[in-house]
Symmetry: C2
Subunit: 474 residues, 2 copies
């Protein structure tokens, strides 16, 4: 049965791909998912690439508790307002009622800053450059696999610094050197980096930096955020240090997170009418080898050749699909659905001719290759497919980025989820609210550095202060 | 300040080592710990080695929800009895009371078997060979860092099989090929594999296999367990499959777990009066280079030499300790406390003589090496130290394994935590209870395969059925 048409029913297409590709499914626990092995393997490759970059930029991993007292969450005013409606609360444990209720972390600023208070006394203790890989819970009313689930997997970095400049530089560095590189290089997903408007910031942040990607239905996905807190958390949790000058100061801080929702992004950025198209860097199998034979004599010969070819693909993640109860055509469909970058087809004819048929999932093209060259070819194809997927997504993104002339046009583009819309904004929340009410779209990002503007706000026609990127979003 | 004496106050020694080596600390959440970067790095190396073996033996990783309905836990009678007293319960989330209470997983059999019900229809769906890395919660009244905390990190494997034989073989294979190899090869911790007596089994298991290690205070640490469930869980969760013969059958299952408590084990097996002694395979830093200089002229020369030496140690995890506000002697103590396997000392004299002083933490010995040979020497030392630590622990274990002649002697050995005690047992729980009441010791393991016995139970003098290993335990 073919998949729902992306252009007609994108949510239905998404759900079917995630299900049929065996990436994840809804669990017996409402709002939470089971991440199945094929989806989890993608997460592991994502995690490896990001963890390497987090460490290369000088951070260390550690681990804070899942549960912490509700009262800790209440210390930073914006933070508690933002997260309290979403938290799950533990009231009983070990057979009795707890003296004070505990929250399951929706994020860990509260427990971390309550702890940093003991770790920071002097400028010599700074900076703290720490990260944790963890599960978090945010109660969701309308869950969607990977994109919005009550529990999700993520990393959260939490750093503390002597100066404003250093903290701000950290926050921007994470955006460019960890998030943008991971998402663009590994996910082959082009992103637009930017700043969030005040209404879209993380609760408690003075600045939130974001990378925004465009999905094939014209909606945006926030693919990672990095927050500059100034002294908000160090003040709220009463953390001070003795500075180089001998004065007592509150440290400046950042936090930054990227999550398993990125797996939903890779589906929605690259997927087509046949299913997933996985970038080689994240593909659980980079090459699948499908034997094609009829009689028993052919079978032995063909399987031997498949095994020999698999050995030539050393260093790649290879699957020989020698299942007997499925026909080759069925297998082709299955691996196309699962987005395996390269399929090798080997039948008696290919064995006799010292050839292999090579199918590229990104272009949907078949070519015949000399057997002796298949190892080298498969390796070079990995880089080619990785960059083709990126280029295709970038072309799509650019073709779906609009600069409207009037509010009418602006409204129509956003209401129909036609993609990214660039338009000047006066900086007032009232205009954002009007746009959201009329189009369902939000202000996704402002330019990374503010730029001088001479035009008028597309919404209210007053002087514009910022160039903004707008879109409907996940 | 020196550490408490191991032989006088082992718990005090343990706590101080874990704290001063910056491995972990108690958190603001009662019973839960913060795993600090030095402890977490050990966990990451442990995880890499075990994850590799889990995958090499044919398993895939996936991820099930943290929370599941309390009623699911209640389906398997022994399981609910064993875990209900320990669970934490979520009653409120998203601002309102939940329709049904959710538990935070103390282990995941319940949610996994409720899901496997949908994944298993035919023998073609079997075996399921899955593992997850996760945090779990078991409410603890007397928490101790790493050894017993309300939240801990672990992996839990959950497999389903067509036959009893296959499930039993899986359960034993995990014990020998994943747990024993990881703990002996990476942790340098010799273990005794065995079966648990009925009273010591995992709740719901028909057999629990264990590896038991001896700590330096004469107490045992259970270092990993693998459970054979028969059809207990598949019956309780109503999971059936159509067999090769066309009949409807319940699959046979296993589960197996090893946790962050192993990090406590590595402290207690190898630690000495100076602190940690880390096996090179798990050490965050395998080599620390300490420059020794007085004047500025020496400083530049010595630091250059340190950097040059560090480059010769390619492939090893090296730290150059060039902190200016600490003296070399302070650094020596700190890295000995933190258990770094090899320290290189480089001063002006060494630079002039093309030499390096090499200190081995395992033996506490210094040697002078030719500069040109230090790369090769450091590499060979990694293997030497890894095996020396294992050998030392094995000698200690063997010297502290006793075979008493009488119940009086048996009782005295166990009451004083003199180590492992081997003695025949009649198989009756009453004798285990008597031993526990009188000595605080428990039956740690029976021989992996039952052996014919001709002697008498050391407790009651009736016919013995099993040779048992006894000890006080963590």
């Amino acid at each position: 049965m073919s998949l729902p048409d992306q252009s007609v029913d994108f949510p239905g297409w998404y759900q079917e791909v995630v299900k049929r590709a065996e990436m994840a499914e809804n669990s017996v626990t409402r709002g939470a998912m089971v991440i199945k092995p094929y989806g989890y393997a993608i997460w592991e490759f994502m995690q490896q690439g990001m963890d390497r970059r987090i460490k290369e930029t000088g951070h260390q991993n550690l681990y804070f508790p899942l549960l912490y007292p509700l009262r800790l969450l209440e210390k930073e005013a914006d933070h508690v307002e933002g997260f309290t409606p979403q938290v799950a609360i533990v009231t009983h444990a070990g057979g009795s009622k707890l003296e004070e209720p505990l929250v399951i972390r929706p994020t860990s600023e509260a427990v971390i800053w309550a702890t940093y208070k003991n770790w920071i006394q002097s400028y010599r203790d700074l900076p703290l450059l720490y990260n944790q890989w963890a599960n978090v819970l945010r109660w969701e009313m309308r869950p969607r696999l990977f994109l919005r689930t009550t529990e999700f997997l993520w990393q959260e970095g939490h750093t503390a610094h002597e100066t404003e400049q250093e903290a701000m530089a950290e926050s921007k560095m994470i955006l460019s050197d960890v998030y943008r590189t991971t998402v663009e290089e590994d996910f082959a997903m082009p992103v637009i980096p930017g700043r969030k408007s005040a209404s879209e910031r993380f609760p408690g942040a003075q600045e939130t930096f974001t990378i925004e990607a465009l999905m094939r239905d014209g909606k945006a996905l926030q693919a990672g955020t990095s927050h500059y807190f100034g002294q908000n958390f160090s003040r709220a949790y009463d953390v001070k240090f003795q500075s180089r000058d001998g004065t007592e100061e509150h440290p400046y801080s950042t936090s930054w997170g990227a999550s398993s929702r990125l797996i939903g992004g890779v589906v929605m950025v690259h997927g087509d009418e046949k299913g997933l198209r996985l970038p080689p860097k994240l593909a659980p199998y980079q090459v699948v080898v499908v034997p094609i034979y009829k009689g028993d004599q052919d079978k032995a010969k063909v399987l031997d050749a498949c095994n020999a070819v698999a050995k030539m693909l050393d260093g790649l993640r290879v699957k020989i699909d020698d299942r007997e109860h499925f026909r080759p055509g069925y297998k082709f469909n299955e691996w196309e659905l699962k987005g395996v970058p390269v399929r090798l087809e080997i039948g008696a004819r290919e064995v006799d001719a010292d050839e292999v048929v090579v199918y590229r999932r990104d272009l949907g093209e078949k070519q015949t290759e000399r057997l002796a060259e298949v190892g080298e070819r498969a390796n070079s194809l990995m880089a080619e497919i990785q960059s083709t997927l990126f280029d295709q997504a970038e072309v799509f993104r650019d073709e779906h980025t609009h600069v409207p002339e009037s509010y009418e046009e602006f409204n129509e583009l956003l209401s129909s989820a036609a993609g990214f819309v660039r338009a000047p904004w006066c900086g007032e929340a009232a205009c954002e609210e009007k746009v959201k009410a009329e189009t369902k779209a939000t202000n996704r990002a402002l330019t990374l550095e503010p730029e001088a503007m001479t035009t008028a706000c597309i919404v209210c026609n007053n002087d514009a202060k910022e160039m903004a990127l707008w879109a409907q979003a996940y």
